[in-house]
């Protein structure tokens, strides 16, 4: 079972937050306590920052499906194709706060909603969500409809509905039910109207003045509840969390901590960490069938293998960070993983006897760490060959948060000529990139890093040679030299940007926007917390959700800010 260890964590957190600090009245901005949560001081709660601007955040397709399952039932089949998610600066979680709904997208949402409503209110499944019976099954019953709409609507909108919102749907249920001569059919249309409402499709993050300091804006408690549950569960708040939020008992230190721990402790937390890493590592491309390999070159790259590869890396991450609470930097050096027989054949290791099982790569073998997995090697390669440039770009941008500038204007590629097959390895071919000044600047950042992985072909299978020439995978990552991919993984583990980058990525995934200047100090603080904990994932999440950046905002995002 992958869940965080509960008892010790509550105790640890509570002691950190309640020891040695005056209660609310005694805290002021000057001593670094934020909101109405008591704190030890800056080293615990973090600097008194102001979070960035908030905006509507459209549910990703995974969140859409998961939310439907949590509210209306696991058995409901949800259309996998709604509006595609948009990746912005590397994360779907950030793109979600910029997208809207296009005409064809809305058409798909409406069709999906109709199908969902029909299933949810079918005679087999309706019992789970409908606790009243209509006075007549062939007409309207406003009382029962009202009860259903208010209850389910609260879970779908993630807050209690207003009277108008309920009344409108009750009217739909009544008129449709009468027209169709079927109470439940009428209710289906009311449910559909909830499912296509912007209040469901978008997470609305509302802000209010902080009662402790009117000059600051904080997220309302239901907005915090929503942020918390989509971060940790990748799904909608459950009743208990909503109750806490709407009773005004979420934003207190103890309650927020307790809820955070409860969520982390739940089996549903695995979905949350998987969603984050899937987003960061662009695993959605595998789900969407976009990681394709030439069947004649790489017949081993079946759909099964692609799915297994993704699953291998996610299981490795969950096992490392959650089950065993290990140092996250060692994700790039660990030899522990999980395999299936089909993965075994690509890794050329014996692995029989059924499906998933733990496996440790050989100590003297070429593989260690996530970057040696089939998943990442395949994603960062072309259909027919490996790509040192793509792999280097991935390490720089995704793992180290270093920006690679765009290619220069009017770049002239005519200088990069393949001299009739004399250049046999990728290192030789890419050498051309770095001999030209216009290209070298950026390619020097990317190619050498990617060349460390040339022993892994376009699907991550090992090769010692390319075109008869022994592969040279040596290089240097910002001063730390390595001989091969294993050494590269170690250099990555030791890189000073690794911690800050994962912190930055988790933070912007959690709040849905890129950090603004007022949040930079907070990122430093969070990274310090991460480091102090020995790079434990749980500590980072907890520090994040209890921090000002998560709980406050500068305001609603304005159009000019968005254009930057």
């Amino acid at each position: 079972m992958t869940h965080y260890r509960r008892g010790s964590r509550i105790a640890a957190l509570l002691s950190r937050f309640l020891s040695g600090c005056a209660v609310v009245a005694g805290c002021t901005v000057a001593v670094g306590c934020g909101s109405d949560i008591s704190g030890d001081g800056p080293e615990v709660r973090g600097p008194a920052v102001e979070g960035g601007p908030v905006a509507l955040r459209r549910l990703t397709s995974q969140q859409y499906t998961q939310s439907i399952h949590d509210v209306l039932g696991e058995d409901i089949i949800v259309a996998s194709r709604v509006e595609p998610d948009a990746r912005l600066e590397g994360l779907l979680g950030v793109g979600a706060s910029f997208v809207s709904v296009t005409p064809s997208g809305f058409e798909k949402y409406e069709a999906a909603a109709t199908a969902i409503a029909e299933q949810a209110l079918s005679s087999e499944l309706r019992g789970a969500i409908l606790s009243c019976e209509p006075s007549s099954a062939s007409g309207a019953d406003d009382v029962c409809a009202s009860e259903f709409i208010a209850t389910i609507g609260r879970r779908l909108f993630r807050r209690t509905l207003t009277e108008d919102e309920v009344a409108m749907r009750v009217a739909i249920a009544a008129s449709s039910g009468s027209e169709l001569g079927d109470f439940y059919a009428g209710l289906e249309l009311a449910l559909t109207s909830l499912l296509v409402s912007p209040n469901f499709l978008f997470r609305v993050e509302e802000i209010e003045p902080d009662p402790a300091d009117a000059s600051r804006l904080r997220l309302t408690s239901t907005s915090v509840a929503t942020r918390l549950s989509y971060l940790i569960w990748n799904s909608t708040p459950d009743d208990e969390l909503l109750d806490a939020a709407e009773s005004g008992e979420l934003l207190g230190a103890t309650n927020l901590t307790a809820q955070a721990v409860r969520l982390l402790d739940s089996p549903k937390a695995e979905a949350g960490i998987r969603a984050f890493f899937s987003d960061l590592l662009t695993f959605r491309r595998i789900d969407d069938g976009l990681v394709r390999k030439s069947p004649t070159e790489f017949p081993a790259f079946t759909l099964t293998l692609a799915g297994d590869a993704k699953e291998q890396t996610l299981r490795t991450i969950v096992d490392h960070l959650v089950t065993n609470e290990l140092d996250l930097r060692e994700l790039y050096t660990t030899r522990n993983t999980f395999l299936t027989p089909s993965l075994g054949s690509v890794y050329a290791v014996p692995f029989g006897g059924g499906q998933w099982g733990p496996y440790e790569f050989a100590a003297d073998g070429p593989r260690a760490g996530l970057l040696s997995h089939v998943s990442l090697m395949a994603i960062t390669a072309h259909p027919g060959r490996s790509s040192a440039t793509l792999r280097g770009k991935f390490v720089r941008e995704v793992l180290l948060c270093q920006t690679i500038p765009d290619p220069p204007a009017n770049v002239d590629f005519s200088i990069v000529e393949d001299t009739d097959g004399e250049l046999r390895t990728a290192r030789e071919r890419l050498g051309e990139h770095v001999t030209n000044d216009a290209c070298a600047g950026c390619h020097e950042l990317m190619d050498p890093i990617g060349l460390a992985f040339e022993n892994f072909d376009a699907i991550g299978a090992y090769r010692a040679q390319e075109n008869g020439v022994e592969i040279d995978a040596s290089g240097n990552l910002d001063g730390q030299a390595y001989d091969d991919a294993i050494g590269m993984g170690q250099a990555l583990r030791d890189h000073e940007s690794l911690g800050p980058c994962i912190t930055r990525n988790l933070y912007r995934y959690a709040v849905g926007h890129n950090p603004v200047s007022s949040e930079q100090d907070l990122l430093v603080f969070l990274n310090d917390q991460l480091a102090a904990s020995g790079y434990r994932w749980g500590s980072l999440i907890e520090a994040l959700v209890l921090s000002e950046g998560f709980l406050t905002a500068s305001g609603q995002r304005e159009a000019e800010e968005a254009a930057q």
């Binding site: 601007p53 905006a55 509507l56 194709r81 509006e83 595609p84 948009a86 793109g95 997208v99 809207s100 709904v101 296009t102 005409p103 064809s104 997208g105 809305f106 058409e107 409406e110 109709t114 008129s175 449709s176 027209e179 169709l180 249309l189 559909t192 109207s193 296509v196 409402s197 912007p198 509302e206 969407d288 069938g289 976009l290 394709r292 030439s294 069947p295 004649t296 070159e297 759909l303 072309h382 259909p383 027919g384 060959r385 290619p407 204007a409 009017n410 770049v411 002239d412 590629f413 005519s414 990069v416 393949d418 071919r429 376009a458 609603q556 995002r557 304005e558 159009a559 000019e560 254009a563």
Partner: protein
């Protein structure tokens, strides 16, 4: 030109989105300048606009026709247009070619594969890689003529990637592509399709009920507007437009099947892919999907399900490959050396020929549907374009463009026009004018023009 009021006129309401369900006098706003906005009730056949995109351009010296004007001489890379048509003549008679029209940069960055489409389709400079500064030309046209049909527009891609689309509502809002013939069939010709050959039309009561659902969410959206910032207001405006589009779709459905003789339900293309396969980008698979999507499109157009479409054959960063090869079209345009005897890159050029052949296939399909006195192609304006001219150095000068069809008689087909470094926006301006948009000038700075390509305008 006046039209008699049809039942559909009563139910559909005005372009601006009001007065549904009331009988309205036939206002000019129902018709565009050429009086062809209404297709039903025995009126003229609608004019359709579409784009057809292929990636990684061509070899300028081998693509641009050697002669100008009507009856231009076909170049080596346009030989596919020499195909005879069943309806008479050849494809080239219906295709105009535009060479030497440049994408101007004015010192702005040339984002590889990004600046070309951004400027050619919006008239503005790309603000960032992959970003458009304004809605794309198909959206501008769809906003004019899209409200009369069940679907405002259709985006189709043979590349197997939904995110590959150049249709933009705004900077960050793309209209995703349909990639699956099976799904396209279900979407257009599924249970809601009104088949004119299927006997008397019975409106489905659910359509009206679905509209009632939509008024509730419009209300939700109005209430949200007051609680969000200006950025979100724009996004909620887009949401509202999309809800309205669905309402209009339901209105169109309620008004019954189109009265077009060439309309019938398309054939079910069957399941797309065998189990365990993905949408591969080898030339054969792409051609097969392109053909299937194009077939469905012609049926959709014949039944007036939409009047605006975008068909993508290959993406700017073209992933086309030949089975057994370990490299792709795009990769080759950069890596392959120029053959000193031939004077071009032989493998990369193979894909130019593949693309031009697919273009000919597409035009041929439109020409195979009889409509009025001629064919559907006569009532179309298909704007073919690419992201670059010569791909190796990401050249955006002389962007290759073609127009197929006669737009219902508004343009003269079969002419080669040389741009002589004029901005590419001249063609986009011409296209918009031909489709009836009230526009005199388009684009900014060096991309700005008020001079359409009059050689092709009737």
């Amino acid at each position: 030109m006046k039209k008699r009021i049809s039942r559909r006129t009563v139910l559909r309401g005005a372009v601006a989105g009001g007065a549904v369900g009331m009988g309205l006098p036939l206002l000019d706003c129902f018709l565009n300048e050429n009086g062809t906005a209404l297709a039903q009730g025995g009126g003229p056949i609608p004019v359709r606009f579409g784009t057809w995109f292929w990636g990684c351009g061509m070899n300028p010296a081998r693509w641009a026709p050697p002669t100008e004007g009507l009856g231009y001489e076909l170049s080596e890379e346009l030989q596919s247009l020499d195909r005879p048509l069943e309806s008479g003549g050849k494809i080239r008679d219906h295709v105009s070619v535009f060479s030497g029209f440049d994408v101007k940069l004015d010192g702005n960055p040339n984002y590889p594969h990004g600046s070309g489409p951004a400027s050619n389709l919006t008239g503005l400079f790309a603000p960032a890689d992959g970003v458009f500064a304004a809605p794309s030309i198909d959206v501008l046209i769809a906003r004019e003529i899209g409200g009369f049909t069940r679907f405002r527009s259709l985006q189709l891609s043979a590349t197997g990637d939904r995110n590959q689309t150049y249709s933009r509502e705004s900077e960050s809002i793309r209209n995703a592509s349909e990639i699956s013939p099976m799904e396209v069939y279900a979407r257009i010709f599924g249970p809601d399709f009104a088949d004119p050959t299927a006997g008397p039309f019975m409106p489905n009561p659910r359509w009206t009920l679905r509209k009632s659902v939509l008024s509730a969410v419009k209300d939700d959206r109005d209430k949200l507007m007051s609680r969000v910032g200006t950025h979100d207001k724009q996004r909620l405006d887009q949401y509202f437009t999309s809800v309205r589009q669905l309402e209009q779709m339901l209105d169109v459905l309620l008004s019954g099947p189109p009265d077009l003789p060439s309309c019938r339900r398309a054939d079910d293309p069957g399941p797309d892919i065998l189990e365990g396969e993905v949408f591969q980008n080898d030339v054969d698979s792409v051609n097969q999907r392109h053909g299937a999507l194009a077939d469905l499109l012609t049926f959709a157009l014949a039944c007036d399900q939409t009047r605006v479409f975008n068909m993508m054959f290959s993406w700017g960063i073209s992933g086309l490959y030949v089975p057994g090869s370990n490299t792709t079209h795009h990769q080759l345009t950069h890596d392959e050396s120029i053959d000193t005897e031939l004077g071009y890159q032989p493998q990369a050029t193979q894909f130019v020929m593949v693309s031009m052949s697919a273009w000919a296939d597409f035009v041929e399909k439109l020409a195979s549907i009889p409509e009025g006195d001629g064919t559907m192609l006569d009532n179309c304006l298909v704007f073919a374009n690419s992201d670059l001219s010569y791909a190796k150095p990401h050249d955006v000068r002389g962007l290759p463009m073609m127009i197929a069809g006669s737009a219902g008689g508004r343009i003269t087909p079969g002419i080669h026009v040389k741009g002589n470094t004029d901005p590419c926006t001249r063609v986009g301006l011409t296209v918009q004018q031909a489709m009836g948009l009230p526009i005199d000038a388009w684009g900014v700075n060096s991309l700005r023009t008020s001079l359409p390509v009059s050689e092709i305008l009737v």
